[in-house]
Assembly symmetry: C2
Homo-oligomer: 364 residues x 2
């Protein structure tokens, strides 16, 4: 910890000052909150069964502080947890926020971070009820979200069935490609007018949790997960959990030409619809993480497809069928190009621990 200080550095704010800042910015709590910030623990009213999820974000592993506007970083810290709640089709209620704060962080940056977090909380009716703060070398963000079950229905990873179709919401690969572009540019350029890849960068900086869509999908989906690790890894999680919990061994066939790609993504790789995806594009789309879209399995019947089209229109988010599941002896994922030729990914399908989610590591 540096002993060098300026007026605006966080070490001069003090822990007490930081708590006062939070209390100033946090809105009046609802009647669900009996004890919020300021005691040893919070005390809240919430329905059982309780959904709980937590994510840990560390500077230079999950985000690059100089390239991530603090307001969007605060928003993302909550969004990635809300995305996990979405994958369960839950209704988020409360959040706990712990921060490790580097001494050189400006008070203004911290305030912006908090405003981003609290703005997103307000949008989804989530209340900040607790947390912890400490000094740290790298900015460290740990968020826990507590949620209720909507209409006594949750969607799990483990519910996939033989002959289910595999669907995804939105577009894949944008967030990881956005990070790649952001790193090349070395500065946040989301607001530059006419800059063609702003939408890609925005998808990395400010992912949207699909909470409302997920609750509608829970009436249809057999299994659901949010896309945080990348399509291949996350589909692997569905197959693995279905095997572990239901004893159902399934394999997946994915038609890579069906993977939904945004126009900005296509433009970046100069893609035309006829040709198979070139290798780098394929890897961003299949293995780039952090799109925070939903991946789910459901019947491929005409009735289901019609319902999904309606939901896509209602929420303004595309829903695309990209493959199918089959019963099999072991679980595996096969990828096919538009000419039914099987593709082999140059890297192992499951990411290695030391590389997972690390923006400083070589790109996919």
């Amino acid at each position: 910890l540096s002993s060098k200080k300026t007026d605006s550095e966080i070490s001069d704010l003090g822990e007490e000052g930081w708590i006062r800042l939070i209390r100033k910015l946090v809105p009046q709590s609802s009647s669900r909150v009996l004890i919020g910030l300021g005691d040893d623990a919070s005390l809240t009213r919430i329905k059982s069964p309780l959904i709980s999820t937590t994510d840990l974000l560390i500077e230079d592993v999950h985000f690059i502080r100089e390239l991530h506007p603090p307001r969007l970083l605060g928003r993302k810290a909550l969004s990635v947890n809300l995305s996990d709640v979405a994958a369960m089709a839950g209704i988020p209620r409360f959040a706990l926020l712990s921060l490790g704060i580097p001494p050189e962080l400006k008070r203004k940056e911290l305030e912006e971070f908090l405003k981003g977090f609290l703005g997103q909380a307000k949008r989804f009716a989530v209340e900040l009820i607790g947390g912890d703060t400490t000094a740290a070398e790298k900015m460290t963000i740990s968020v826990t979200v507590l949620a209720e079950v909507a209409k006594a229905r949750v969607t799990l990873r483990s519910g996939a069935r033989d002959s289910d179709a595999v669907y995804v919401t939105g577009h894949l690969g944008d967030a990881s490609l956005g990070l790649h572009i952001l790193r090349q540019g070395k500065k946040p350029i989301t607001r530059a007018p006419g800059y063609p890849y702003g939408t890609l960068i925005r998808r990395h900086l400010d992912p949207a949790p699909r909470l409302e869509l997920a609750r509608d999908l829970s009436r249809i989906a057999h299994a659901m997960i949010d896309l945080s690790d990348g399509l291949v890894s996350d589909l692997g999680h569905i197959l693995e959990e279905t095997g572990l919990r239901r004893g159902r061994t399934l394999s997946a066939e994915i038609e890579t030409s069906r993977i939904p790609l945004s126009s900005a993504f296509r433009k970046y790789f100069k893609l035309t619809s006829r040709k198979p995806l070139p290798d780098p594009a394929l890897r961003f789309a299949l293995q780039g993480g952090e799109d925070y879209e939903l991946l789910f399995t459901a019947p491929s019947s005409a009735r289901v497809r019609e319902s999904l089209s309606e939901l896509a229109r209602k929420h303004g988010i595309p829903i695309t069928r990209i493959g199918v599941l089959h019963r099999s002896k072991t679980f595996f994922i096969r990828l096919f190009d538009p000419f039914k030729k099987e593709l082999v990914l140059p890297e192992p399908i499951f990411e290695h621990f030391s590389k997972s989610r690390s923006p400083r590591k070589p790109e996919p």
Copy 2:
């Protein structure tokens, strides 16, 4: 992140391997756990109102990895959260554990850490239901604990009253003095036979959450907090919260000669009972944090004192009256030596953010 690897380094375990390790070590879950580890979020049965608390521990800020046996570190990571639950007189049920893992951490160390965490969880009937893992430069531990209210009664920081006596459990200053000794020795020496300060070091490495005692105290205490920041800071929190939430402005008078000190602590500073505490001893006792004892206020009536003596005997933990609260115009804490002389602490009473809980910084 280093690219140098050996067989036993964690980067070779892989995230999937780490999840398999956790699943291997986590015992069969109870019927309270509908969905535990392995999905996007957990789903559990718990009574409302819900107690929730979270703590963030970072290497070189809260602990020194080379000096902290990993099994005890795992235990402490849970204990400090259980201590917050104790301060509310709650019954802990579930824990979420997020870990940032440096690439050089050995698989064996991680397994030991997890065993320490799970051993303490088992002891207090807490179930591990979720978490997150990622690479990190410094080992980073974020724990959230969810708890129920015992007999519809919680104890808050904000309940202090005029004329209350101030009480503490156990001995103060041991943990911070233990850390000081540990740093001088530069190696963990808890098991060395005949080493006189092992108990002090142990109090830093492995604090005991006072859950059962706290639930008994909740029938008597008006306000309660666990001692994580140090006596003066934590008593300040009680006064501040009582002022904020109840509009009651109170000041405290503490008789420093009444502060309970362990025989090891007295031996280290060569203390006799007659003389005022020398400055360094005073500062460890008053401002050294992390004792995780309970600080509470309650009437000083003979009946209450008798009840507290009984509880002290029942739990084998001393309970000591160290001062008194008075109504006042502003809130403040006054400290007196055995000759009723007022003491002035050389440093501001509330710790500065950048210094709080940092073992690398100058000692108190």
